[in-house]
């Protein structure tokens, strides 16, 4: 029974999160964040361990795999937009991925964080399913890296458009790509509200960053970890 119970609770908490987002239009009200808070509270109240909950919900977690594969679809729909700027975009995304990973690792080290925290911090700019897979491989805490990814996603949705304007980045293509590169799906949803060009480029950057980061992780790890 506990399998059905926790599956139901998880989907219901997610649906409540979607309802809340629709009502409040707040970037803080991400269905995943609302779902995590509600489920965590239910686990604490019922005295259920996380291991039991994770076992009960493997059906949901499993779908991360096919959903990651499906990221090819927005990439396929939007790839024609890159005509004439493939190289600049790939250079920018590579630079961004390297800066993001290296600065994440070095800031943790500088402030006295542990080795496992460095490994958990490294890939948080990538969409959560890929972050989870990469962090497992690196030997970090996969669940924590998923939360880091959610936090930077929400951060992007809340302040990225204003920050980009502050830093004088006004080209809608550059804005979309910058947000998709560091705030993945949650940032992309926000950029779709700004304009469809920004949203499309953000979605494109999210998929490309996942691939670029996967390729760069072994390199960064061999130098820094």
């Amino acid at each position: 029974m506990s399998v059905v119970l926790w599956l139901f609770a998880t989907v219901a908490a997610y649906e409540f999160g979607r309802w809340l987002r629709k009502r409040t239009h707040s970037p803080l009200a991400q269905p995943v964040a609302v779902g995590i808070v509600i489920v965590a509270a239910l686990l604490a109240l019922s005295g259920t361990t996380y291991a039991d909950y994770a076992d009960a919900t493997t059906l949901i977690s499993f779908l991360l795999g096919p959903a990651t594969v499906a990221l090819a679809i927005p990439l396929y729909h939007q790839v024609a937009r890159l005509k004439g700027m493939v190289i600049p975009v790939l250079v920018a995304l590579t630079a961004g991925a390297v800066v993001s990973m290296v600065s994440g690792i070095l800031l943790v080290r500088w402030l006295g964080g542990s080795d496992v925290l460095e490994r958990t911090m490294a890939t948080k700019s990538v969409t959560a399913p890929v972050t989870i897979a990469l962090t497992e491989r690196l030997g970090g805490y996969a669940e924590l890296s998923a939360c880091f990814a959610i936090v930077v996603g929400i951060l992007g949705a809340m302040v990225a458009p204003r920050l980009l304007t502050l830093f004088g980045i006004r080209d809608p293509r550059a804005r979309g790509i910058a947000v998709g590169a560091v705030s993945h799906g949650i940032g992309t949803a926000r950029m779709l509200e700004e304009s469809r060009v920004e949203g499309a480029f953000s979605g494109l950057a999210m998929g490309l960053t996942a691939v670029v980061t996967c390729l760069l992780v072994p390199l960064v790890a061999s130098f820094l970890l």
């Binding site: 920018a92 994440g104 998923a146 830093f167 980045i169 560091v182 949203g199 996967c214 992780v217």
Partner: protein, 129 residues
Amino acid sequence: MIVGLLWLLGCQLAGTAIVELTGLPLPGPVVGMLLLFVVLVLRRRDGEDDPVIQVGDYFLSHLQLFFIPAGVGVIAYLAFIRDAALPIVVALLGSWLLGLVTVGWVLGLFLRRVPAVAGTEGAPGEEIE
């Protein structure tokens, strides 16, 4: 529906098999994503009624649901987070901001030479939650 699911699972399976056979340092589903991309480009068939695109778009529209179980795992790390609050907050914010600005500036430098309309035509972006 089922045909679309088969394509997604098939690509994931093929991607995972390739990773296991070759020892590529990539997650299987990411290789699966590249394979599906190649399949989509080769087929050149992209109606709204295409089963892969229908199922895939549906999965993506609820991507956030699928990582709730992983995210709930944060409860096992609350003490860890408290002990390392400073490096976590500074590294998270700092590296995020540096990444954002790097991509924006690098691209801004290049795009001055690309016509301002390039890439801005066409269908709106897909909704990814």
